[in-house]
Symmetry: C2
Subunit: 197 residues, 2 copies
DNA sequence: GGCGAAGTGACAGTCACTGACAATAGGCGT
DNA sequence: ACGCCTATTGTCAGTGACTGTCACTTCGCC
């Protein structure tokens, strides 16, 4: 019964998250996910290329938002400025999605196979950022380096915000880019400690 | 027949690389690898946790070298200085291993599953660097950021050297860290182009 | 010359994932 | 209302990665 298509997909995602939380990722079979969603195992693989992908969705929209953010930066902006603006443009989205992201992260944290997939997802975003920078006129190799470094800072800020949501993601992002500057240009402290706040 | 144990392991690795090059990774079964190595499929999985790992080996030694490099840096060195020294300490190893690395990279480049595994391997090295920095007194979060940024620069340098081995890995590494500094502290060009040489 | 440990073969089984074909529901024009 | 077309799903059969178990062989050692 082809109810709506997107409906089955959503149920599959919910079922997957539920089961992964109940029994863990490894102990859950794709057949069980399909059964809880009220479809066949075959249908699961029509909606997701593999078992892991049931946990990752909406990445396309996120990538597009980041890309747009980079391209929308003022013409005089340096690569790192453009990246920072792009990250700021998705702050709200990330903060709003926290209730959805939080349980997902818990599952990912204790599943090596899922952590591995997160890395490729992040790499995909990094590539998109790199290409966006390149389209702004940044030399290809430099764009790659900038995208990777910026993404590292962004991931660092997000992780910090996840453990300590208090000051808001924006503050963590500012702090991360500030620390990044201190690290790379680090004139001062040979003791290699960052300034307090 | 337990000839030597390590012997079978080495033959399995060679067989795997050969077959991956001949038919591609996906089109090669673990049974075929085992057969060419003169053992059973079961033995393959006694030596490697999964099919991908047959291509990745000696990573432990590499990680130890990087860690030692960080810890051996002079006491006054900044985190980025320590990382650069660590990377320099493995330059020779990488350059010498090029004949072995080159065919492997060709297989990896055209196999998404292997590229994904590379990312987790790199993440493992980054974690090791982060912990080494942390043991030097660098605050944990900052150490993570520094390790990721440094690893990005290192990967960038290595990739560039791979395509253009001419000036040597050392030059590429110097250049990468220089570009990194320009990016983060980017005083000059808003046009975001890097200085020529 | 037996003896324990390490390495291996053989066998059976689970599970992720795929290809092919039939069946059904819903939208659309007539 | 009727048939048509398309998208979605069910069904079936199959491949291949990976695991558990047990028996066997080889090696080092006393």
């Amino acid at each position: 019964m082809p109810r709506s298509g997107a409906d089955a997909r959503r149920r599959l995602q919910e079922a997957a998250l539920e089961l992964f939380r109940e029994r863990g990722y490894e102990a859950t079979t794709t057949a069980e996910i399909a059964a809880r969603a009220g479809v066949t195992e075959r249908t699961f693989f029509r909606h997701f290329p593999d078992k892991r992908e049931a946990l990752f969705d909406g990445e396309d929209a996120f990538r597009a938002a980041l890309t747009d953010g980079v391209l929308a930066a003022p013409e005089g902006a340096t690569p790192m400025d453009a990246l920072l603006l792009a990250f700021r443009s998705v702050e709200r989205t990330i903060e709003n999605n926290r209730p959805i992201t939080e349980p997902r992260q818990a599952v990912i944290a204790q599943t090596p196979a899922l952590r591995e997939r997160v890395l490729t997802k992040t790499a995909g975003l990094t590539d998109a950022l790199s290409e966006a920078l390149s389209r702004r006129g940044v030399e290809r190799g430099l764009a790659t380096l900038a995208a990777q470094v910026g993404m590292a800072a962004f991931a660092y800020a997000t992780r910090a915000w996840f453990y300590e949501p208090e000051p808001g993601l924006d503050a963590h992002l500012t702090r991360a880019f500030s620390q990044l500057r201190d690290l790379s240009c680090g004139r001062g402290d040979p003791a290699s400690r960052a300034p307090g706040g």
